[in-house]
C-alpha cells in the first residue's frame, strides 16, 4: 500500500503557479508606485517599495522551496531544466520590479509632462505583456491534464503569440518614449536622466522576460 502512495511525488506545478502569482503581485505594485510618483507622495513611494521588497522575498522563498524539492528521482512530464528556466525567468521578473523600486526610492523623481503619456502607455504595455504570460502559467495545470497536446496546446500557442505581439508593441512604444525623453534634454540633469534610463531598462526587461517565459512554456507543447 505504501509503495503505491510513495509513487506520487510532490508536484512542482502548483508551487510554480503560486510563485508566479507572487511575482504578479510585485508587478502590479508598479501602477501604485508610479501613481505615487506622479503625485510626488514620497512617503507612499517608500511604503510601496517596502511592500515590493517583501513580496519579492516571499517569491524567493517559494522559489527556493521548489528548487529544494526537485530531486533527480522525480520524473516530470516536462524537462527539468525547462522547468527550472521557467522558474528563474519568473524570478528575474520580480528582481526587475525590485530594481525599479530601488531606483525610484533613491532620489525623488519627477514624471515630466514631456513624456508622461508615453511613459504611462509604456508601463501599461509592459504589464499587459506580463499579464498575458501569467495567464499562460495558469494554463499549466490544464496542459498537464491534456498531456501537453490537442486543443489546449493550440490555445496556449495562441497565447504565446499574443505575448510576443505585445512585447513587440512595447518595444515600439519604448522608442517613442525615448525620443520624447531625449527631446526634453534641457529639463533633465544627468542623474535624473540616468535614473529614468534605468527604469526604462528594467521595465522593458519585464516584457522581454515575459516573452522568454512564454516561449519556454511553448517548448513543452507537443505540436508540430
Amino acid at each position: 500500500m505504501r509503495t503505491i502512495l510513495n509513487l506520487f511525488g510532490r508536484s512542482p506545478f502548483a508551487p510554480l503557479l503560486s510563485h508566479m502569482e507572487c511575482v504578479a503581485k510585485c508587478v502590479h505594485y508598479l501602477f501604485e508606485l508610479f501613481d505615487a510618483l506622479e503625485h510626488k507622495n514620497d512617503e507612499l513611494i517608500e511604503k510601496i517599495c517596502e511592500k515590493i521588497s517583501s513580496t519579492e522575498h516571499e517569491a524567493d522563498l517559494i522559489k527556493n522551496d521548489i528548487r529544494g524539492h526537485l530531486p533527480k528521482s522525480l520524473f516530470l512530464p516536462i524537462d527539468r531544466s525547462n522547468l527550472l528556466e521557467i522558474l528563474s525567468l519568473q524570478d528575474s521578473i520580480a528582481d526587475n520590479v525590485e530594481d525599479i523600486a530601488v531606483i525610484v526610492s533613491l532620489k525623488p523623481l519627477e514624471l515630466l509632462p514631456a513624456f508622461k503619456n508615453e511613459f504611462k502607455m509604456f508601463l501599461q504595455k509592459n504589464i499587459d505583456t506580463f499579464d498575458e504570460a501569467l495567464l499562460i502559467v495558469k494554463e499549466l495545470h490544464d496542459l498537464v491534464e491534456s498531456s501537453f497536446g490537442g486543443m489546449e496546446a493550440a490555445k496556449v500557442r495562441g497565447m504565446v503569440d499574443e505575448v510576443a505581439f505585445r512585447e513587440h508593441e512595447a518595444d515600439i512604444i519604448q522608442r517613442q518614449l525615448l525620443k520624447c525623453v531625449f527631446k526634453a534634454e534641457d529639463q533633465l540633469n544627468y542623474i535624473t536622466f540616468h535614473q529614468w534610463q534605468k527604469v526604462f531598462e528594467s521595465l522593458s526587461a519585464i516584457s522581454n522576460l515575459s516573452e522568454n517565459l512564454a516561449y519556454r512554456i511553448r517548448r513543452t507543447l507537443e505540436i508540430k
Binding site: M1, T3, I4, S11, P77, D142, M151, K155
Partner: protein
C-alpha cells in the same frame, strides 16, 4: 492420524485463513484505491464491487497459481518417507509469511506477500529436503516473472495511455473522440476478460468449452459490452455544442480549413506568376477565416471538454478496477491457499493428493478470507489510499489499471505468482513516462528491489526457524 491431528488441521486452516484475511485487508486497496481516489467509485461501491470480484477471481480463476504454490515449487516425492514434514513445512511457510508481513506493516516497509511466501517455501524445501527437493527451473520462471511483470505492466500502461492521448486528448473534439473510442476499449477489455478468464474459470463449475466456442463467446460478450457502452456514452454531448451558440463553428470546420490551407500552400509553391498571386490571396483569406474561428475556439469550453472526457473515463475505470480486483483475487489467493491445500491434502488423504487439482472448497475459503479481510480492515486502507491519491484522474487510472490487470491476468493464467502491487507500480510509472502525471517518484523502484532482495531470504529464514518448533510439538 494421531491425537494431535485435528489440532494441526485447525491450525493450518486458521493460518491459511489469516493469510487470506491479510491479503484482503492490505492488498485489495491497490486494486480499488486508485478508483476511489479518482472519484470514479464511492468507497461503499468500491468495497462491494471488490468483495464480489475478489471472491470470483479467487474462486473461478485462483486454481492456476494455487497449483503452482501447492505442488510446483517443492518436489513432494522427496518427502515420501515422512510426508508429515511437508505438512509442517507448508504450515511454517504460511506462518513465516504472516509474521513477516505483520512486522513489515508495523514498520511500514513495502513488502510483497507473494515474495515472502515463495521465499518461505523455497527456503524450507531447500534446507529440510535438500537442494534437489526444489524445482529450480520453476523457481527461475517465477523469479523472472517478478522482473517481467512490472516491466510488462509499465509497457502496457505507457502504450495504452499514449493511445488514449493521441486518439482522444489530441483530437480537435475530445468528447466526440472519446464517445467514438469508448466502445472499442470496452470491446477490447471485455473480450480479453472473456477469453482468458471467464470461460477458463468455468472449469470449476464443470462447464467445458472448446477453443472455438470460447473465442466466439468472448467476442460476442465483447460486442454486447461495446453496444451497451455505445448507447450509454452516446448521451454525452460535447461541451462545444452547449457553450457555443454559433452554428458555423465546429471542430470539423477548423480541420477542413487547415487542410484547405495546406493544399493551397502546395499549389502556391508549385505555381508562378499571376496564378501564384491569386493563390496567395486565397491563402490570406483562408488564414483570416481560420483566425476568426480560432478566437471562438479559445473560450473556456476546452476545460469543460476535458472534464467530460474524464467523466467518460470514470465509467471505463470502474470496468478496469473490476478487472484489477478479479485479477488480484485470482493471483493472490494462491499465497494463502496453495500451501494450505497442500498441507490439508497430505494430512487427510496422503502424499499422492498433492498433485491433485486445488479443491474448490479451499478456493472458496481463500475468497471468503479475502472478503472478510476487506470488510473488517481493508475498506479503511482503501479510504486512506483514496484520500491520498488524487493525482490519478480516471483516464490515467484506467490506463494504469488496465495495463496492470492484463499483466496479472496473463501471469495468473500461466500460474505465475507475481506481486500485484509491483505490477501496478510499473503500470503507473508507464503512464508517468507517457507524460500523464505531474510528478512521479522514481525511488519506488528501489522499494521494489528491496522487496526482492530482502523479503525472499527473510521469508526463507523465518520459515526454517518456525519449522523446527512445529515438528517438535506435533512429532515426526
Amino acid at each position: 492420524m494421531t491425537m494431535m491431528d485435528p489440532a494441526l488441521l485447525i491450525l493450518i486452516l486458521v493460518t491459511g485463513f489469516y493469510m487470506a484475511w491479510n491479503i484482503g485487508a492490505n492488498d485489495v486497496a491497490n486494486a480499488m484505491g486508485t478508483s476511489v481516489g479518482s472519484g470514479a467509485l464511492t468507497l461503499k461501491r468500491a468495497v462491494i464491487l471488490a468483495a464480489v470480484l475478489e471472491f470470483s477471481g479467487a474462486f473461478f480463476f485462483g486454481s492456476h497459481v494455487s497449483k503452482t504454490m501447492q505442488s510446483g515449487i517443492i518436489n513432494a516425492d522427496i518427502f515420501s518417507d515422512h510426508p508429515r514434514i511437508l505438512v509442517y513445512g507448508m504450515l511454517a511457510s504460511l506462518a513465516s509469511a504472516g509474521i513477516w508481513l505483520q512486522i513489515a506493516s508495523y514498520f511500514g516497509w513495502p513488502v510483497s506477500t507473494t515474495h515472502s511466501i515463495v521465499g518461505a517455501i523455497v527456503g524450507f524445501g531447500a534446507v529440510v529436503g535438500g537442494m534437489e527437493a526444489i524445482y529450480w527451473e520453476q523457481v527461475g520462471f517465477i523469479i523472472s516473472s517478478w522482473i517481467l511483470s512490472p516491466l510488462l505492466g509499465g509497457i502496457l500502461g505507457y502504450y495504452i495511455f499514449n493511445i488514449i492521448r493521441k486518439k482522444i486528448f489530441y483530437a480537435l473534439n475530445p468528447v466526440e473522440a472519446a464517445v467514438k473510442f469508448t466502445p472499442y476499449l470496452v470491446f477490447f477489455v471485455v473480450t480479453v476478460l472473456g477469453l482468458v478468464l471467464v470461460f477458463e474459470g468455468f472449469r470449476n463449475l464443470h462447464l467445458e468449452y472448446n477453443i472455438f466456442e470460447k473465442g466466439l463467446l468472448s467476442v460476442t460478450l465483447g460486442l454486447i459490452g461495446a453496444i451497451i457502452s455505445f448507447f450509454l456514452v452516446k448521451r454525452i454531448t460535447p461541451a462545444s455544442k452547449e457553450c457555443i451558440p454559433i452554428p458555423a463553428f465546429s471542430p470539423d470546420i477548423a480541420h477542413s480549413l487547415e487542410k484547405a490551407r495546406k493544399h493551397l500552400q502546395k499549389v502556391n509553391a508549385a505555381t508562378k506568376g499571376e496564378m501564384q498571386y491569386h493563390v496567395g490571396l486565397l491563402i490570406d483569406e483562408v488564414e483570416s477565416i481560420e483566425g476568426s474561428i480560432q478566437q471562438k475556439h479559445d473560450s473556456s469550453f476546452i476545460h469543460l471538454e476535458y472534464q467530460k472526457v474524464e467523466r467518460i473515463f470514470g465509467y471505463l475505470q470502474i470496468m478496469s478496477a473490476c478487472m484489477m480486483a478479479f485479477a488480484h483475487g485470482a493471483n493472490d489467493v494462491a499465497n494463502a491457499i496453495g500451501p494450505l491445500s497442500a498441507a490439508v491434502a497430505i494430512l487427510t488423504t496422503g502424499l499422492y493428493a498433492v498433485d491433485a487439482p486445488v479443491p474448490t472448497w479451499a478456493l472458496a475459503l481463500g475468497g471468503a478470507g479475502i472478503v472478510i479481510g476487506l470488510a473488517t480492515w481493508g475498506w479503511r486502507v482503501i479510504e486512506t489510499i483514496g484520500k491520498k491519491i488524487t493525482e490519478l484522474t480516471p483516464s490515467r487510472g484506467f490506463a494504469a489499471e488496465f495495463g496492470a490487470a492484463t499483466t496479472i491476468v496473463l501471469a495468473s493464467r500461466l500460474g505465475m505468482p507475481i506481486s500485484t502491487t509491483h505490477t501496478l507500480v510499473g503500470a503507473v510509472l508507464g503512464v508517468g513516462f507517457a507524460r500523464g502525471l505531474e510528478a512521479v517518484n522514481l525511488t519506488t523502484t528501489r522499494d521494489i528491489l528491496i522487496s526482492w532482495v530482502v523479503t525472499v531470504p527473510l521469508g526463507a529464514v523465518l520459515a526454517i526457524i518456525i519449522f523446527y518448533p512445529i515438528r517438535a510439538i506435533f512429532g515426526s
